[in-house]
Amino acid sequence: MAVTTQLLSLRNERGWTQAQLAAEVGVSRQTINSIETGRFEPSLSLALKLAKLFELPVETIFGLVEGR
């Protein structure tokens, strides 16, 4: 199972930069970049922080697909 994310499109919809989003959830810009490109799977607490910030259910931002 692999984790997919809509973080990049959601961030672009709101017109935020990676640095702005990173500052909001307390991580580095590199972490946001790695999550958006699918290289890094965030912890549950970070996923929940992002969901709260975007005011969306966490499964709207992150999903699971078969395979890698």
Partner: protein, 162 residues
């Protein structure tokens, strides 16, 4: 929050807060000072190993680091290195505590892998030594191996996640 640059070999200084910079500087300076006597020992170990492998030279006339500095000063140097290493580890722990999960995941992965593999090598070496196949494993060799593995796994983790 810190960002890693140059493939994980350096920290982007401008992303650090003032407190984190102070912890990082303290850790770097103390680890550098602690590494000086360790460097002398590893140099001596390398010399002896090279000699045993047939590089030539007169090992019989070679004075050990302990003989050069004398037992009193040598003991003080080793104690100083241990204290400085402990201070460095504490400062780095305080620095790491303020960083995000990406940094800590990379660091924890590298530390865990390096510790496991170093322990495995030491364990196998001890078994071989009990069987009379090899001589005793120098502690400094284990330290060098541990650091080399730590660096290797660190760079691997940076490439994987960053």
């Amino acid at each position: 929050m810190v960002e890693l640059t140059h493939g994980g070999t350096w920290l982007k200084w401008s992303t650090l807060e003032r407190t984190d910079r102070n912890w990082a500087i303290l850790s770097f300076v103390t680890s550098f000072l602690a590494a000086l006597p360790i460097g002398l020992l590893s140099g001596e170990w390398g010399y002896r190993l090279g000699h045993r492998m047939g590089s030539g030279g007169a090992e019989a006339h070679h004075r050990s680091i302990q003989e050069i500095f004398g037992p009193q000063l040598f003991s003080t140097m080793m104690l100083g290195a241990a204290v400085l290493a402990a201070v460095s580890a504490f400062a780095w722990w305080r620095f790491s505590r303020n960083q995000d999960e990406m940094f800590n995941r990379i660091q924890n992965y590298a530390l865990a892998q390096a510790c496991c593999w170093t322990f495995a090598v030491a364990f196998v070496w001890c078994l071989l030594e009990l069987g009379g196949w090899v001589g005793p494993l120098p502690l400094v060799a284990l330290v060098i191996l541990g650091f080399a593995l730590l660096m290797g796994f660190w760079f691997y983790a940076v490439r994987r996640w960053l």
